[in-house]
């Protein structure tokens, strides 16, 4: 019998569970990081193995930094999971500022008892999303809380990017006469989650739209158009996002309901639950406010990108002292599209 002084029994990813020692800072935590997180995320910055990542300072432009917490329930849903969602969400927050996303940081809050197999699946999905987006996860943190103090796993991500000189996107730049463009159908993410959550029993064909939008945005910026505002309409949906822009810009908006794309399954599910797709969350869509003269050019660039195939011109910015977002209904009347009231569905992202 020989003693192997360096031997550490590998993590039992198949059947093991997170326990409090995985957040203790001791050997168990080091092992979890090495055998699970580092294995999936591996990159030169993470390999430095320090408390923080040392990164090259960008040569020009301005830095953008954004963070986003993810608490979605359930953790796995058609079209994605909390892992890829936490990568896409923060990349999109950086990208809608006009920035090229460079690096991500990820912080995990794990509940004691959470299956390591699920964690492995989530981390693999994050790593794949980060790889596809070309944005590495360069540093991170793990904490474990007692059972019942958190629901499975919460993931908070932070992203850093650089805005090229000459690009100036901001919520207060919408001007009367500008055109409002939407990159695709509304409500896919929210209804995909809702269909699982509410045990509605309809076998839904609805798939979350979770996606990283920086490629689409790059194509839009490449047109050289005067892009004034970009936003990703997540919680609260398009209605809430447009109200935010209207308030920041001190203008009103007039939408054309007939021009707003909604998948028929999503429309039917919304109808069934009494929801309005305008208020349902999206995770892979953007809304753009563009100078009218550039609108067609930007729209063409959006439609040429896979994530913008169903892009549409949905309305325009108007003068309005009340900063109302209004809409001509498909029926021929007019209504306000107000802020979301209350909570439509907690823990959607």
């Amino acid at each position: 019998m020989s003693v192997r002084p360096d031997y550490v029994r590998p993590l039992d990813i198949k059947n093991g569970r997170v326990d409090l020692s995985h957040g203790s800072g001791g050997r168990a935590m080091a092992q979890l990081i090495e055998e699970l997180f580092a294995r999936h995320f591996d990159n030169e910055f993470l390999r430095q193995g320090n408390d923080g990542a040392t990164l090259p300072a960008p040569a020009g432009g301005r830095l953008v930094m954004a963070c986003d917490g993810h608490v979605v329930s359930p953790l796995f849903f058609p079209g994605g999971d909390i892992g890829c969602l936490s990568v896409h969400g923060t990349i999109n927050d950086v990208a809608v500022m006009g920035a090229k996303p460079l690096w991500l940081a990820a912080s995990f809050i794990l509940a004691e008892g959470f299956p390591l197999a699920d964690l492995d699946r989530i981390v693999a999905s994050m790593a794949q999303a980060a790889r596809e987006a070309g944005v590495p996860i360069v540093t991170g943190d793990t904490k474990v809380v007692e059972q019942g103090k958190a629901d499975g796993v919460f993931i908070s991500t932070t992203g850093v990017g650089v805005v090229p000189d000459g690009v100036r996107l901001s919520g207060e730049r919408a001007r009367p006469g500008d055109v409002i463009l939407l990159s695709g159908t509304l409500g896919d993410h929210g209804m995909a989650i809702m269909a699982l959550r509410e045990n509605l029993g309809f076998s839904s064909a609805i798939v979350s739209d979770t996606a990283a939008l920086h490629g689409l945005i790059e194509a839009m910026l490449a047109t050289g158009a005067d892009l004034r505002v970009l936003r990703d309409p997540t919680r609260g949906g398009l209605a809430t996002t447009l109200n935010e822009i209207a308030r920041q810009s001190g203008a009103g908006m007039m939408l054309d309901e007939a021009a707003i794309p909604v998948n028929s399954e999503v429309a039917a599910a919304c109808e069934f639950l009494g929801l309005d797709p305008l208020y349902v969350a999206n995770e892979g869509k953007l809304v753009a406010v563009v100078a009218a003269a550039d609108a067609e050019r930007v729209l063409a660039a959006m439609r040429a990108h896979p994530l913008g195939e169903r892009a549409a011109r949905i309305g325009s910015v108007v003068e309005d002292a009340h900063h109302f977002v209004q809409m001509t209904t498909g029926f021929g009347g007019r209504r306000i599209v107000d802020w979301l009231t209350g909570e439509q569905l907690p823990r959607i992202c």
């Binding site: 509410e198 045990n199 509605l200 009103g252 007039m254 007939a258 028929s264 429309a267 039917a268 109808e271 639950l273 108007v318 003068e319 309005d320 002292a321 009340h322 109302f324 209004q326 001509t328 209904t329 498909g330 029926f331 021929g332 009347g333 007019r334 209504r335 306000i336 107000d338 802020w339 009231t341 209350g342």
Partner: protein, 379 residues
């Protein structure tokens, strides 16, 4: 969406708008009450008012389930959750109705009450089955539409031998509310509320049928047109009402023939009659105590009656003095006539119940139509 989009067609709407404008006599003004919140919502959501001529006016009625629920009933539910420790289940909008002491069910939930939003009575039953150590109360609100599912839940609970489930029954009845409005001094004597006819309920009528309205048409000489909840249904009903007024008729007509018959759903009616009986009187927000206007659980099912099990006594609580919900529910005032509307009372911070549900007259006007308020945007 097939089978729904047909009833929201903008081109057909223009055709109907033209027919209404042609039928409405310029020297006459027409006021029709849409009883149901479902119609109020459709009118606001689709901008139906923009398609009606100026001399055809819609008056919002009291048919919004959470709007007519008085403070005392919500207080009862809150006390059950906070003081008796029951698990209280109810439909979504009910959670936000303002109650006493600045509370609502949502705020009581934040204070630790086990209060849950459910989509159906089946959800509440399931919660009771999964939590045998807790008593689960289903706060049942609404008009006749949801009385059959509540009856089914009570019967199922008995069949399953569930002892930890009961219903706080606040089901109310449509015909009693219509009578109350027609008998009100504003309509009958003072004439301050001109009412030339009613758009009758859609879903309620699928259960009770069109027969119960025949009495109003005959006794009060008011035409009633039962209509579906889609905007084209509403337009068609308005046209039918204008024609009845022009021709001096006061009949019950059914625009919603795809779902409503004269006798309604007899099986559902039997079920309801088996489990419920009439209450002698019930307090409505806005209408006050209305005789024989609500249901209570029959004594045979008393063990499923929360009021019986917890020996609850109803205490009436007055509304905020400046709140005009009462007058708005009777059609006497419009939302924008209330001093609180859009100032201290908004959907995010409702003072009155009409500001809570999107079917409420105030919330519908605020959320969809407040650009029409005088001095608002003219865009």
């Amino acid at each position: 969406m097939k089978y729904v989009d047909e009833f929201r067609d903008g081109k057909l709407a223009q055709v109907l708008a033209g027919a209404i404008a042609a039928a409405a006599r310029p020297e006459h003004s027409y006021s029709f009450m849409e009883f149901c919140g479902g119609h109020t919502h459709a009118i606001s959501r689709y901008g139906v008012a923009d398609l009606l001529p100026p001399n055809v006016r819609m008056v919002h009625g009291p048919g919004c389930p959470v709007c007519v629920l008085p403070i005392g009933r919500i207080d009862m539910a809150i006390a059950l959750a906070l003081e008796q420790g029951v698990t209280l289940c109810t439909y979504g909008d009910t959670l936000r109705v303002p109650a006493s002491k600045g509370l609502s069910l949502l705020k009581a939930k934040a204070q630790g009450g086990d209060i849950r939003m459910v989509y159906s009575t089946a959800d509440a039953l399931r919660i009771a089955q999964e939590n045998p150590a807790k008593h689960v109360v289903f706060l049942a609100i609404d008009f006749e539409t949801t009385t059959p599912p509540t009856a089914v839940a009570i019967k199922q609970a008995r069949a399953l031998g569930l002892e930890n489930f009961s219903v706080l029954c606040c089901h109310v009845l449509t015909p009693a509310a219509i009578s109350n409005i027609l008998e009100s001094p504003e309509v009958r004597k003072l004439g301050t509320v001109p009412l030339d006819g009613f758009i009758g309920p859609a879903h309620v009528s699928t259960v009770i049928g069109s027969r119960p309205y025949e009495f109003f048409a005959a006794e009060y000489r008011k035409p009633v047109v039962i209509a579906g909840f889609e905007p084209l249904d509403v337009m068609q009903a308005v046209l039918m009402l204008v024609r009845q007024v022009n021709e001096g008729r006061a009949e019950v007509e059914n625009e919603f023939t795809r779902a409503v018959t004269r006798d309604g759903n007899l099986k559902a009616q039997e079920l309801v009659a088996e489990v419920f009986e009439l209450r002698r009187a019930f307090e409505w927000r806005g209408l006050g105590l209305v005789p024989y206007s609500a249901l209570k659980i029959r004594s045979e099912y008393a063990s499923y009656d929360t009021e019986f099990r917890y020996a609850l006594d109803y205490q009436s609580v007055a509304d905020n003095r400046a709140c005009e919900c009462g007058a708005i529910l009777r059609g006497v005032k419009r939302p924008q006539d209330c001093k609180l509307f859009g100032t201290v009372c908004t959907p995010d911070n409702p003072i009155g119940s009409c500001m809570v549900s999107s079917e409420g007259a105030c919330a519908a006007h605020y959320s969809y139509g407040r650009f029409r308020v005088q001095g608002g945007s003219s865009q």
